[in-house]
């Protein structure tokens, strides 16, 4: 049971700083997910918390104690690695008991704890096997079991499911969520997978190039991204951005003229904006619909249509460099080469100022979001 607090944490590898002063507050029992593009420092941050890398600057507290100079085993953290990192010459049982053995727990205690973990993870049948005789999913379970038996205050996971196939990943994701519910221990989890982040997290931390871009619940990030980067990163396919010019602005709404010449009034807080400012409008693919060309926000030529089964993705050339993506019904009859109009509801649009910061959306009405925000 412990909270994790990072204060102005910095990490330098030689002269190069890769983590630039991260402040973070992870509450006791929280499931916190780090996301961000490759190389942004997710693993490094996790390893700093684990104690596998030295903190160059700043303060790290676990359960109230400053642990900057504490060795990993005394921090009360356990880590699950992407490659599982099981000891190849030890049986499943020995793998799980190794840490307990090093900590000089009695054989009975080791036995009891390993058995309990094996039961939770359905590994009882496999205790005598060597890692090479296990499937990927079973290995992952052993790696998790090795973490559980130590009864850590904080679990750290570095992309633990990325080596599994899609079906197994879904299954393990659910098992991990259940495990978190059962143990109620603080967990910090690094992932590339949007779905994992959105479904498992109590709190998502979006990182970019060694700095925190935004911290919030999954739906907060989806509905209230703080800036263009977070808006583009959360959600799949990613949000479309089109540029526009402000014609009228107030605290309740912003009226802007799109490049297509169409004028729309969006329910966002316009304070800080002025007429004639150039802004970016964000529209998520799932909020788009195909409309008549005269009522549409803009029109374009369809370049590609992808049929996913339950939905279709339509890629439209609108004049800008990037293709505009719209998510449409799975049975859509739209074909490549057609000219289509794109429509989106005003309350579903996002507005970003010249500094790429988001303007507060005023008409968001979403029950799960309210529930998540009420919890915090």
């Amino acid at each position: 049971m412990a909270d994790v607090v990072l204060k102005q944490i910095r990490k330098r590898f030689g002269p190069i700083e890769t983590i630039h002063g991260v402040d973070l507050n992870i509450r006791d029992g929280e499931f916190c997910v780090f996301v961000g593009p490759s190389g942004c420092g997710k693993s490094t941050l996790l390893r700093l918390i684990a104690g596998l890398e030295d903190i160059s600057d700043g303060e790290l507290r676990i359960g109230g104690d400053v642990v900057n100079d504490t060795v990993p085993k005394d921090r009360g953290v356990a880590m699950v690695f992407q490659s599982y990192a099981l000891y190849p010459h030890m049986s499943v049982f020995e793998n799980m008991a190794f840490g307990l053995d090093l900590a000089k727990h009695s054989k009975d205690e080791q036995n009891a704890r390993v058995m309990a973990a094996a039961k939770t993870l359905q590994l009882e049948e496999l205790l005598d096997r060597k890692p090479k005789e296990l499937s990927g999913g079973q290995r992952q379970r052993v790696a998790i079991g090795r973490a559980i038996v130590r009864k850590p205050r904080v679990f750290l996971f570095d992309e633990p499911l990325s080596n599994l196939d899609a079906a197994l990943r879904v299954q393990m994701r659910i098992e991990l969520a259940k495990l978190h519910e059962k143990l109620n221990t603080t967990m910090i989890y690094v992932t590339h997978d949007q779905v994992e982040a959105m479904t498992m997290a109590d709190k998502i931390v979006v990182l970019r190039a060694g700095t925190v871009e935004q911290v919030g619940t999954p739906l907060e990030l989806y509905h209230y991204p703080a800036n263009l980067f977070v808006a583009g990163f959360i959600g799949s396919p990613k949000m479309n951005f089109i540029s526009a010019k402000i014609t009228q602005v107030s605290q309740q709404s912003v009226t802007l003229k799109l490049e297509s010449g169409k004028e729309v009034s969006l329910p966002v807080d316009g304070s800080g904006l002025a007429t004639a400012d150039r802004v970016t409008v964000g529209i998520r693919p799932e909020h788009c619909s195909i409309a008549d060309q005269d009522t549409a926000l803009f029109t374009g030529t369809v370049e590609v249509v992808e049929h996913l089964g339950e939905a279709g993705l339509v890629y439209v050339r609108t004049g800008s460099d990037e293709l505009f993506v719209a998510r449409v019904a799975g049975d859509t009859a739209i074909k490549t080469g057609e000219t289509v109009g794109i429509q989106a509801a005003e309350q579903d649009c996002y507005v970003f100022d010249t500094a790429d910061m988001a303007k507060r959306r005023l008409a968001v009405d979403n029950a799960p979001l309210k529930a998540q925000m009420a919890l915090n």
Binding site: L52, K73, V77, M79, S83, L86, Y87, F98, L102
Partner: protein
Amino acid sequence: MNAKAWKYLRKAAFWLLVAVIVLFAVFPFYYAILTSFETGSALFEVNYLPESFSLINYISVFKGQPFGHNIFNSIFVSFLVVALSLLLGVTASYALARVKFAGRGLLLITILSVSMFPQVAVLSGMFELIRGLGLYNSMFGLAISYMMLTLPFTVWVLTAFMRDLPRELEEAAVMDGATPWTVIRRVFLPVMWPAMVTTGLLAFIAAWNEFLFALTFTLTDDKRTVPVAIALISGASQHEMPWGNIMAASVIVTLPLIVLVLIFQRRIVSGLTAGAVKG
């Protein structure tokens, strides 16, 4: 039909080649065994099949000199060399493969370059060193000087092997509360067995067969190792070479090596090719 003939021809050529190689490798030893069982003038007649059989050479080799003692010395020195080489090799390779420090590459090259010096070149310097340490005419002096022959390749092979071990394996152990020494002893050593058997065996062979240092750094008969003892076996008169005794002694000292290689042959192959293919 033609294809079939080709196939047989290729097979025949292959086995012929194998036969030639085996003949080359095995014949000298076979001839040594043959000779070691012969006595008197039979020694000097060329024959390729056993004609007489006598154990007299084997008995007299132990009588003429303290050969039992020499064998013991060889075993003692060789095992000491293997133990020291592996201990130093494993710990050094841990540092060289896992710990970042300035001059690591240079150090590795330096270690390798040690093995380039011919033994004769360092002989006098080494002699001074050994005498300075008070280890002249002692098994320990020999063992230390042999380190120069065994450590370079031991360190290199083990470093290469250790580098290939996944970093996360070590980190997992650290998270489990292991100190560097525990990591080496309980995680790396068991995984590194094949490499250690290979390098250990090569070190053993090097120490077992070494001649020049053994000749120079020992003085008395009872401190000599087997290769020197064999070279110094002398006959009744100055003009007589006791070939029978020499051959018998050679056979005796070759047998342990053959036995060791046979025991560990599978390990050796897997150690030599480890890391070449991802398992």
